[in-house]
Symmetry: C2
Subunit: 444 residues, 2 copies
Amino acid sequence: MYFDTVIRNGTLLTVDERMSIIEKGWIGIQAGIIRAVEASLPDMAPPDARLTIDAAGGIVMPGLVNTHTHLPMSLFRGLADDLPLMDWLNDHIFPAEARFINPDTVRWGSLLACAEMMLSGTTCCCGGYFHEDAVARAVAETGLRAVLAQGVIDFPAPGVQDPSQNIAHAREYARRWTGRRPLISPSIFCHAPYTCGDGTLKAAKAAADDRGLVFQVHVAETRFEREQSIKEKGLSPVAHLDRLGILDQRTLLAHCVWVDDADIAAISRQGCAVAHCPESNMKLASGIAPVTRMRSAGVTVSLGTDGCASNNNLDLFGEMGTAAKLHKVATGDPTALNAASVLKMATIDGARAIGLADCIGSLETGKQADIIVVETRTPHLTPLYHPESHIVYAADGADVRHVLVAGSPVVRDRHLLTIDVGEVIDRVNDIARDIRSSLNGDAK
Amino acid sequence: MYFDTVIRNGTLLTVDERMSIIEKGWIGIQAGIIRAVEASLPDMAPPDARLTIDAAGGIVMPGLVNTHTHLPMSLFRGLADDLPLMDWLNDHIFPAEARFINPDTVRWGSLLACAEMMLSGTTCCCGGYFHEDAVARAVAETGLRAVLAQGVIDFPAPGVQDPSQNIAHAREYARRWTGRRPLISPSIFCHAPYTCGDGTLKAAKAAADDRGLVFQVHVAETRFEREQSIKEKGLSPVAHLDRLGILDQRTLLAHCVWVDDADIAAISRQGCAVAHCPESNMKLASGIAPVTRMRSAGVTVSLGTDGCASNNNLDLFGEMGTAAKLHKVATGDPTALNAASVLKMATIDGARAIGLADCIGSLETGKQADIIVVETRTPHLTPLYHPESHIVYAADGADVRHVLVAGSPVVRDRHLLTIDVGEVIDRVNDIARDIRSSLNGDAK
């Protein structure tokens, strides 16, 4: 028996170079690697395997790649909405973080976020936060693939009370997690050019470069940030990072809402990728990133959900639908950002953005078997003319039936196999009870 | 035993005047009417009833009201996306309608749309199409509450080949369905001021008025429509309808994307309601309706999905999240259209828009028991600080567990009780196979 696992009886949305769709096909997996992507022949059953997954006529596609999130912020989901950004941060998020973020709460929040992502078809995420060692240990339990960054900021932060230690802390985290687990890649995340000085930005980038890691930074998220940067430094946030030598192919820029043509040219020239977070940018009224212009300039634009406190879920299906529709109305062009483009942003372009395009992001032989099966025999996915249209415009995370990461089933029939979801929910509810009573106490 | 049905053990999101939330409560229903909305007492179980529904800690709220859709267009879901409006209509939708819309296909498409809506928490819909007699018969089978309009247009249409008969046809439909079924209200729908002459608009409105019915019309959907109206008639589309005397409290205006302050003042003065369809307007790149300005002017703005061919699903949860986020980014104000406002738009304001605010749209004694139970013990709805935030920003249609219309359970544990969903899916797939092969044939 050559294959460990065969997925049969599905429509294969490969997201390969030609966006091939195989209407009735099967996939063979051996030792975590895709070894066959084949059309079913009328008179020949797919080969036997130790495990056969029946896609039941559904859509089989690469797992989604969420390139910007903050896992433990699931603890603050819906804690405070519909507020101006600074009130939201200063009156709600920062106080809650200062009081309730510790290695234990971070662990439960990360497990919750992973459960949500895996159950909605995300097989790889990229992001950063504080106490990242505890985050990485939690994520490793879940079987999710992840690029996980220690956060760096020039203020006292959870786990790094003395900002002068932030680079050393990040270096130590990166050392500890390099090569430790096959699915976890360490990374370093500078919060933003307005919260990190030039020295910090350069040192953090150098620390990432020393190990060939992805360097992440929020940039040009709000109009205020752009205007302040121009006023104080005479440069846009992107131009400022460019001058510092921070921009290159291993730098991932989150947001890039307020970028002009010169910024886009710099991003393109240096080969940076952008993590576009449409729902977070809309909910915080930050603005609409010029995604179609960035893509036209050759920039790899991927999709992220951002943290749960500003979204308020981690469902990349919703993010795909929103992205496709938002950029049509923003440009006045109904042909902008078609379904196939958005599907690529959520898969292969996401993989490219985090340096994993050789490993994941499409159903091709030789790649890691990060695969999801979407059930389509439901009213809202009937009839089915074009599978990529359904994925982007009609499906949501709850339609994901099976999920494999590196060939291992992590979700079967909508049940998460790797961790006890009920226990995670109970523990997060305990933490939330404390947060709620503490904040209610403040209000008195 | 006083109650037929009791729903217990839920967080009650009443959407009453004060937006009361009862953290642990129960609802008593008798003969289809809500007779009790009560907080649970620690030492007293809710009363017995013939049927007790355990909300299991979830959110109990009024069913959603979708005020603009075209049910049979579910047959064309995803048939053609990412196209300019006129190509989409002329090359895909109109030819498919001309060839494949008949009483039989309309029946199966309507059943499919109802199944989708009920399974995603919609308990009442309003819309119109052609062969509406077949639509109404299909909807009546499903147990959904609906305002269903015969379409009127000054061109040959499915079922009304001779446009001179369009008013007579609509009148006859309205006569046949007045008082016929308690959950179905007939209505008349003029397609648009650019496809219906002044005489048709006035005659259709008069036909609706004769029976006190809701009159519906698409208006000011695109910039082109507005500019053409001003050029040809010297009036905006809304001003044109106002001059014809079409605007009053029983007129429901779909879209209103391209309306200026004078239009908004007219809509407000005449007491019309607006059906806002954010996802359809985004996907077709029509524009962003000035919802916050219309609401400030006192206009009742409700939510609609539009038909499946331009959305591509009928999930009002998605529409709520999109509306809340879209108008924040459109106005640059993160406090715009907060969760409570959007929740009202999808419930009580929807009821108001179609003249049913005395009957449905909130959990209040004396109202019809159109109620949904949303499961919250899931990763993406954990933790729960504010139920209205979860409903608008984090939940989706798949979280709806139970649905009652007029006190009758129509969805239990996510299973539709009233029609055979498998049969509907099979029949729609048969119809779609014909559509696909016919269109493929054209392409050769």
